[in-house]
């Protein structure tokens, strides 16, 4: 299992366009991917899950994945967040 912590730096947080980009990216991998915020887990491949998390700018989230492509998945998602969703 791979996991990494990251702080949301873009203005909108995991919302609107960033949320759907995040879900689209996560859905490319076969690994099970979870996002944890404030001790609660959310499905990274679900737009409903990500939206209901309500993560805003400055929030700390943990991305963790389990499965064949887990490492790539976590790395790519982290870099998507760090690149501020190419806004």
């Amino acid at each position: 299992m791979f996991k990494q912590e990251v702080i949301l730096q873009n203005e909108t947080g995991l919302h609107a366009r960033p949320a759907s980009l995040f879900v689209k990216e996560a859905s490319k991998y076969t690994a099970d991917i979870k996002v944890t915020k404030d001790g609660k887990d959310y499905n990274a491949k679900s737009i409903m899950g990500i939206l209901s998390m309500g993560a805003a700018k400055g929030d700390k989230i943990i991305i963790q994945a389990e499965g064949d492509d887990a490492e790539t998945a976590v790395k790519e998602l982290i870099s998507l967040v760090n690149n501020k969703f190419n806004e």
Binding site: A16, N43, S46, M48, G49, L51, S52, G54
Partner: protein
Amino acid sequence: MKGSGTSPGIAIGKIFLYKEPEIKVVKTQTEDPQLEIDRLNKAIEKSTNQIEELYERTLKTVGEKEAEIFTAHKMMLEDPEFIGGVREKIVNDKVNSEWAVKETADYYISLFENIDDEYLKERALDLKDVSKRLLKALLNIESGDLQSLSEKCIVIAEDLTPSDTAQMNKEMVVGFVTELGGKTSHTAIMARTLEIPSIAGVKDITNLVKNEDFIIIDGKKGDIIINPSEEEIKIYEAAKKEYEDFKTKLEEMKGKESVSRDGFKVEIAGNIGTPKDIDKVLENDGEGVGLFRTEFLYMDRDRLPSEEEQFEAYKIVAEKLKNKPLVIRTLDVGGDKDLPYLNLPKEMNPFLGYRAIRLCLDRTDIFRTQLRAILRASAFGNIKIMFPMISNLQEVRDAKAILEEVKEELRKENISFDNEVEIGIMVEIPAVAVHSDIFAKEVDFFSIGTNDLIQYTTAVDRGNQDISHLYNQYHPAVLKLIKMTIENGHKEGIWVGMCGEAAGDEKLIPLLLAMGLDEFSMSASSILKARWLIKNTSKKEVADMIDTILTLPTAEDVESFIDEKIL
């Protein structure tokens, strides 16, 4: 009866009362969850097909942006949490699919609705729409009503969802009345796109009318008459014809020059706030852009925009305008328009404070980057530069000196730009209007910013509701300043424009024309009307009345004089 008009126009005709079939979901236990899962899968498949069809249909009949919503709906039907949650509920609780769909959807809907966030509230509406569709598929409820409309009608409903309007036979719909919603709701936007009248917020209307009732709606005023008399129908038919004739007249204004009845030519341009606004200006045949507000580049973000980013934005607009003039106003923030990343101090009097050119001449790093971007873009069109909030001549000289330095830099770097780029100022502070004879010697044009000019002349905060009655563009003192500015500009041979709300005001246009204003810049939707008005006004006739108007005691006197003698 009355509601709030959300799309102008008048419609007269039969009612089509659209009532959603009631969806009743009862909880039942099942011994065979797999059977329920199969039912669910079939319903999802059916719903997905419907959504794809609606997407295609909307794409063809309305547009890509409107169709996009169905992509989001489809995503919800594929969502592992939502659909996964429904499946889990069926298996774990051994309940019927309908119940599982309703419970799961309700959970997310209330979750989204309870967060104070516009975006999530909209997603709650999408989810309602999607879950309703899924439930109808499960319960075999058909709702093809709006699709099979066969005669012209006015649709009356509690509310219309994107799915409802997408499947509607739009050729037969001549108007909408809804109980819910407002100017920004989906139905209102759709009505304006289709150019049919629409009224929202009419309480209980679905219970007050029945199919086959006759109705008149006025989408501008929000008036509704159910089963009108012969007399009323006659009146509204005449009004409808007048409105439609006027619309045709405006259409005919496209491609024409803006020349007064007695042969004086002016320029009618549009105001824009983002690069994409330019499309609306061109659609309405604007002769240029008299005000490009550049604040959008700086707001809703966490750092200053780069030169490259700005250059691209200015260049795209300049190119789309071909050789028509584009007046770019340099950064006008500070005071009430805050940029958090600049850490500007809180002020007691933000409108009189550290803002616009005052900020730019202090933070020359910001100013230089913007000027570089504008100058570089000037190689791609007919760009003019305008400085906002000028209050004394030294500011003009300082700004021009910095501009010269930036030009020199570009020359050294062999970057091309328009060396003759015109430099103008906003005339929005009374001191400048009064002293405009002197300012006119040092700039290439004036653009009168009436919103602030009125505010500063009358000392009325235009954002304060309690004193809004004192904010008045017909104030004789304001008109005197405008006239003085135009005359002083002309004495020095420079052109004078106006980019405030007043430039698009029907009552003021004849006056401004008579005072000699050269350029009128307004919101895109007012351009054709202004051209029509100018074509029907004699500059000389109104000019003869100007002196009389300027001696009138109050703004109210000015307004009624215009109503009686000019319009």
